[in-house]
Symmetry: C2
Subunit: 259 residues, 2 copies
DNA sequence: ACCTGAACACCGTTCAAGT
DNA sequence: ACCTGAACACCGTTCAAGT
């Protein structure tokens, strides 16, 4: 930032014209040039990851990028904040793409599910947005293509194969939704300071003590599960799902009919 | 509302004392008595169902209930808007309770899944909230109890049985998340006026035309599915899931091992 | 034409003042 | 003590004015 000394020469210097800066001291790119759509979306994702979706505001992004609020609209070329959310959703979809998708459908689906889950754990707010933002950006489309590619070796009609892909995707998103409770997402952590974990489990213990919850009391209070536990149960459910798909669509491998 | 005429008698009337109202003209219950927590939560759910979660604001509820904004806080006895969301989430959990849960785990899980799905289709915003609001209200706890009751006839250790319940719940929530795209939720409908369905499918068609999406182009563009279709695919995926669970946990009924 | 400052119509919540 | 009006510190977005 070149400073121009418009002050009267109190210090004895005689500089009254704007001091011409040397090319070396001048930044090669102006700040404006850095205010690209990519930078804006990246900043939004950074804020959402760290502080939750609620912290993503046009004004906050402006501060983050050292710009004025309305510049966010003009430089990202968005017409509303919701369009910014569209861009954020699509960006995360890029992270869900598996570099080398195996050919057989089981490992392929497992790879997609694992990578999708990793991306969603890193960007928990995605789940909140996907309910209202359709998956149709370039990366979202690529993700759908990947899902179809994963099931292409299955011997079934296209509609059914698509249903398999969607079912697996669906399972991952659902798992994440509940995993977020226990994991320490930005919002969850904030909540736990407000109403202490202790008060919460005390309340649940009191409820169970009424005797109205025989199943819950026999299992005991739901203890917080570790990350390793959650991985294990995620894979267990995925096993069940893939086994069921295999049993229904590849009856030669072990015929079993659902009731 | 009894009016007291404190105005000077410009109209010639001589009423300077507060006119005593007849008992018949006085409302039996004051408006304040109607401003209960139940009424506030019900109004919030009504607004969220009709116009989406974003339309639920303290000020809006005040208007809806003919009260002042801060009265919402005092009468619902909430300390923040987020606590109102907690109450809304728990209220919907009540709708997920199945009146007569069958004993065998398959029909029981099917009944829970179906009813959960119906509740979520009626209150799409629930999914948006559940990511950050733990299920620990009285009805939420009752729902967890129901999930455990549904799997109690399964021959497996408690942890595994719990995983079965969570997996099914997870599947339902995931399905809803994606179903909302296609169904006409409040927000989605608003969106479709902003960016026309036509522009959207045109964009996707152009993307596919690039040839980068061999799978998608062979399946054809994703046509909007009917409600009946969505029911069918929901049940299809649920069949796969239940079949997989059965095959893994009841190997006597048809041994099949997942790879 | 593209960019943006000021203004508008909202928010949730604090807090002091009312009863 | 309980309730609430006014005020505060934010929002997203419009629009007219700047360049």
């Amino acid at each position: 930032m070149p400073r121009r000394s418009a002050l009267p020469a109190e210090d004895g210097s005689t500089a009254e014209t704007p001091e011409p800066s040397l090319v070396w001291t001048r930044p090669a790119t102006t700040r404006r040039a850095a205010l690209t759509r990519e930078a804006i979306v990246a900043a939004a994702i950074r804020v959402a990851d760290a502080e939750g979706l609620a912290a993503v505001s046009v004004r906050r992004l402006a501060i983050e990028l050292d710009a004025r609020p309305m510049s966010i609209y003009s430089y990202a070329r968005i017409e509303s904040k919701e369009e910014l959310f569209d861009l954020m959703v699509d960006e995360v979809c890029a992270e869900m793409l598996v570099p080398d998708l195996p050919d057989p459908w089981r490992p392929a689906l497992r790879a997609v599910a694992t990578r999708t889950r990793a991306a969603l754990l890193a960007h928990p707010w995605w789940v909140e947005l996907i309910g209202r933002n359709v998956l149709l950006g370039p990366h979202g489309t690529r993700y759908q293509e990947q899902l179809l590619a994963a099931v292409r070796t299955l011997d079934a009609d296209p509609k059914t194969k698509q249903a398999v892909g969607v079912t697996v995707e669906t399972y991952v998103v659902g798992q994440i939704t509940f995993a977020l409770d226990e994991q320490g997402s930005a919002e969850t952590e904030h909540r736990s300071t407000t109403r202490s974990r202790q008060a919460v489990s005390q309340y649940q213990r009191d409820l169970i003590a009424t005797g109205e919850f025989p199943q819950l009391s026999s299992v005991g209070p739901p203890e917080p599960s570790s990350a390793a536990d959650r991985d294990r149960y995620f894979n267990l459910g995925l096993d069940w799902l893939l086994a069921g798909i295999g049993a229904s669509l590849e009856p030669d491998a072990g015929p079993h009919r659902a009731d």
